[in-house]
């Protein structure tokens, strides 16, 4: 087959046959963008291509007058000598896997993906391929996620316990994706309004405009804070922890929702009262299941714990190797 269909260059993952980049980290002529997280959607490129439901989020991040062409789900578009199509990755709203075929072989670049239930985005689609480019953020067997419904219930119970003690509950989580996923799950558990830090307000609005049903929300800034938000649930980005902004809450109980909370040491070090295990990345069993289901013989890994995964896959008979990329190592970009 000769040259690889997609290769890392100093600008990003490049498909020479189609002359385009996937999630480039430096400005390029044509960029296919998997999703709107900061480490994947970087400004400065001439023209972007993305799934329609990703476009409002990308415009929020990159600027309203950015040129972004919609690529409709599953529709094959011609780029040079290749056919390119997008397929849902299940990571956040509008997150896509990029399928590239040149008539001889099929490659899929998955961006970030997950397989667990998430009512706030399009579910992951298995796309048969020869080579699968995978993230490896949580690629160790200790990372196995509990059922997302159980985590949502645990968050709700924590909130109710705090409410009974007259305390505010401040849940830290990434403002794009995770916050809306939690809001969509809470819709089934409570009719109450959830209060949002300013960083999550416009993003949540975009989700609503896309038709995602979520628990009712209101900005923290619009609520009278004289009672210290007693009994309320507040969602905020982790950067707000320990900031002046926290002053309005009286005796708040704090929690962090992230895949990293699976490890006790992380829960203890972070200094939050509670840690909820909830991730928008595939866990170990789902990584392996996905590789098997795509039928790929070759697995290339991007961000995360590539070494162990690559070694394990080789033992299992895959051709596997890590790709050098500039995506966030921790999956914590928002």
């Amino acid at each position: 087959m000769g040259q690889d269909l997609i290769e890392p260059t100093e600008h990003g993952l490049y498909c020479a046959a189609g002359d385009f980049y996937i999630d480039p980290w430096r400005p390029v002529e044509r960029a296919v963008v998997t999703h709107a997280h900061a480490d994947h959607a970087r400004p400065g490129s001439h023209r972007y291509y993305a799934a329609p439901s990703s476009i409002p989020l990308l415009k929020k991040r990159l600027g309203a007058d950015t040129r972004i062409e919609p690529l409709h789900w599953q529709h094959r578009y011609r780029f040079g000598d290749c056919e390119v199509s997008l397929h849902p990755a299940g990571h956040i709203l509008g997150s896509a896997q990029v399928r590239v075929g040149d008539g001889h072989r099929v490659w899929v670049a998955s961006g970030d993906f997950k397989r667990g239930d998430d009512p706030s985005c399009e579910p992951f689609e298995v796309v048969p391929c020869d080579t699968f480019i995978s993230e490896a953020t949580f690629a160790l067997p200790a990372y196995r996620w509990p059922a997302p419904g159980d985590t949502a219930q645990a968050i709700h119970d924590w909130w109710q316990t705090n409410a009974a003690e007259g305390r505010a509950s401040v849940l830290f989580t990434y403002a794009l994706g995770k916050a809306q996923r939690i809001l969509a799950a809470l819709r089934w558990l409570t009719p109450d309004t959830v209060y949002l830090h300013g960083a999550a307000v416009p993003l949540t609005r975009i989700y609503r405009q896309a038709g995602i049903a979520m628990a009712p929300t209101a900005p923290v800034s619009e609520r009278d804070s004289s009672d210290g938000f007693a009994g309320e649930l507040v969602i905020a980005p982790p950067s707000a922890h320990g900031s002046q902004w926290m002053r309005r809450f009286r005796r708040p109980s704090t929690a962090f929702a992230s895949g990293w909370m699976r490890i006790r040491g992380n829960r203890r070090r972070r200094g939050f009262d509670r840690g909820f295990v909830l991730s928008d990345h595939a866990d170990w069993p789902d990584l392996l299941r996905t590789f098997a289901e795509t039928g790929a013989q070759r697995i290339l890994t991007t961000h995360g714990r590539a070494d162990e995964l690559v070694a394990y896959l080789r033992e299992q008979g895959y051709r596997a190797s890590p790709l050098a990329t500039a995506y966030s190592e921790t999956g914590e970009a928002d």
Partner: protein, 533 residues
């Protein structure tokens, strides 16, 4: 079992000391004695004799999960704890029914019995437990299997909780928890008994504390009215010598006898009914050693022979509180000192010595002796009034400490994070670095030392000059220089700088200095060499 598991997870999921105290107190109050005994045993940090080695457990885990052995090792390294690794890898397979047995019964039947099993049976039992227990209990099981609980409660906190549950003084509980005891029903019942006469005799006297001398020594009047000694750089301890036992109490009122077996051995040669006050110091070749040598001996349950050889200690006595079973704290300092000298004279053991007097004709001469203190590896001088009684707590006028000037280093603020409590909304927790080439290497954290308006001004600056954030921590532009004062500096493999400071604090905000005027790592190392060498 379930109740203890809930207590354990309650303790594990809070950092608030008062919350931990309340959880333990409530548990101790009405738990059946046989379970309470085990809870005390485990929470106080005692451990079961190791039942199965970690390597074998990892072999079984690999076999059970079907994962390669090397991947088990990598995962354990990432997770940082074998007990947790097992729990995380097994928690999809567990049936999840909590074990209904009582704690003591469960420990007997699930853990202690493994001791007598052959390897095949051990493996079957252990794997069956991994499969059967819900994650919380599985974690507890693995913790006990691999060692101690380490749940972030100190022995002192356990004692406080028991003291509240039993309504007895903490020092009585502390005495009851020292030495050999079995975690059985009778032991736990015994914790609730009223204190006996002997137990009262085993409690330390409140420590008498010195005031720092801030004004000129000349204000103290005639130098002849004072007894002057070195201020030793060790840990303060009362030594209680009874007919059949010796107890060492630290200033935090913890029993530390087990950490210093050679001192117990030495003290047996003293007359019974004696209580001394003094300082435990690292000691070798007739000389006190740097504090970090002593540090190696602290916080251990047991001290091995090698460590005893490598880090020997001595007890430098400076006061006698009890002689022939009689409280003599009201006698004047000079009399107590004479009695102490006579007591020390009764032993030939070189590990027990009398703190010598520092003689001088006037304060000026003392001042120059004080200036040489660091070379003698002492912290300064203690000045005690000849007529002073041994008081309670810190009382002005009787005992003074005249410390040497602290060491200082100019360092650059590199990270900041919010403080706690009243200052939770301000950046008050600072990390400082020194130059190594063109890189700033973190040297130390320091909290106190700035006044409120400086704290607010610095907080404001930090917020506007943040370069990066990791969770609550902000990395700031390297621009602000602070003079840090500290009492000692020593090599440390745990710090990137290779150095650890003792009692670091901010002495001054050096707004007159730019970041490149700050000190280098090499300069800091020289300070360490100057003391340790």
């Amino acid at each position: 079992m379930e109740r203890f598991s809930r207590l354990f997870h309650g303790l594990d999921s809070t950092t608030a000391t008062n919350r931990k105290l309340a959880l333990m107190r409530d548990y101790f109050r009405d738990v059946p004695a046989a379970d309470g005994a085990w809870a005390v045993y485990l929470l106080a940090g005692r451990r079961l004799k190791r039942l199965i080695g970690p390597s074998r457990l990892q072999d079984w885990l690999a076999e059970t999960t079907g994962l390669p052995r090397w991947l088990i090792t990598e995962t354990r390294e990432h997770v940082g704890d074998l007990a947790e690794t097992i729990t995380l890898l097994m928690d999809a397979d567990t049936s999840g029914e909590p074990d209904p047995r009582a704690l003591h019964q469960w420990i007997d039947e699930q853990l202690l019995c493994l001791r007598d099993d052959d390897e095949v049976t051990q493996r079957d039992r252990v794997v069956a437990a991994w499969r059967a227990l819900p994650p919380d209990q599985c974690f507890l099981f693995n913790k006990l299997l691999t060692g101690g609980l380490r749940v972030g409660v100190s022995q002192t906190l356990v004692e406080r909780a028991l003291a509240e549950a039993t309504a007895l003084p903490r020092t009585v509980i502390a005495g009851r928890l020292t030495g050999q005891w079995q975690p059985d029903e009778a032991f736990y019942r015994g914790l609730f008994e009223p204190a006996s006469h002997d137990e009262d005799a085993s409690r330390p006297y409140p420590f008498f504390l010195a005031h720092p001398l801030e004004e000129s020594a000349a204000t103290l009047g005639a130098v002849d009215d004072w007894l002057v000694e070195w201020k030793w750089d060790g840990i303060r301890a009362q030594m209680l010598v009874h007919r059949d036992d010796v107890i060492l109490w630290s200033r935090g009122e913890e029993v530390i006898t087990a950490q210093f077996p050679e001192l117990r051995e030495a003290a047996v040669s003293l007359p019974a009914g004696t209580t001394l006050d003094g300082e435990i110091v690292a000691w070798r070749d007739g000389q006190v050693q740097p504090f970090f040598q002593l540090q190696r001996r602290l916080g251990r349950k047991r001290v091995g022979r090698q460590l005893l050889r490598e880090a020997p200690v001595a007890y430098i006595a400076f006061d006698q509180l009890e002689a022939e079973d009689t409280d003599c704290r009201d006698r004047p300092q000079w009399q107590r000192r004479e009695s102490l000298a006579a007591t020390i004279d009764t032993t030939a053991d070189e590990r027990l010595m009398l703190s010598p007097l520092v003689a001088a004709r006037d304060w000026q001469e003392l001042d120059s002796q004080r200036a040489a203190a660091r070379e003698n590896r002492v912290e300064g001088l203690m000045i005690k009034h000849r007529e002073a009684a041994y008081g309670v707590g810190r009382r002005k006028g009787a005992w003074w400490k005249w410390k040497i000037e602290p060491l200082t280093v100019d360092a650059v603020l590199i990270y900041a994070q919010p403080g706690h409590g009243r200052r939770a909304n301000l950046y008050t927790d600072y990390t400082f670095g020194v130059w190594h080439g063109d890189e700033l290497i973190p040297l130390t954290k320091a909290y106190s030392g700035l006044n409120d308006s400086e704290i607010r001004r610095l907080d404001h600056w930090i917020r506007r000059h943040t370069r990066e954030r990791y969770g609550p921590v902000r990395a700031v532009e390297p621009a602000q220089v602070f003079e840090l004062a500290f009492e000692g500096i020593q090599p440390s493999s745990r710090h990137k700088s290779g150095l650890a400071l003792r009692f670091p604090r901010i002495a001054r905000w050096r707004e007159d200095l730019g970041s490149h005027d700050a000190d280098t790592l090499a300069q800091a190392r020289e300070l360490a060499d100057g003391i340790a060498g």
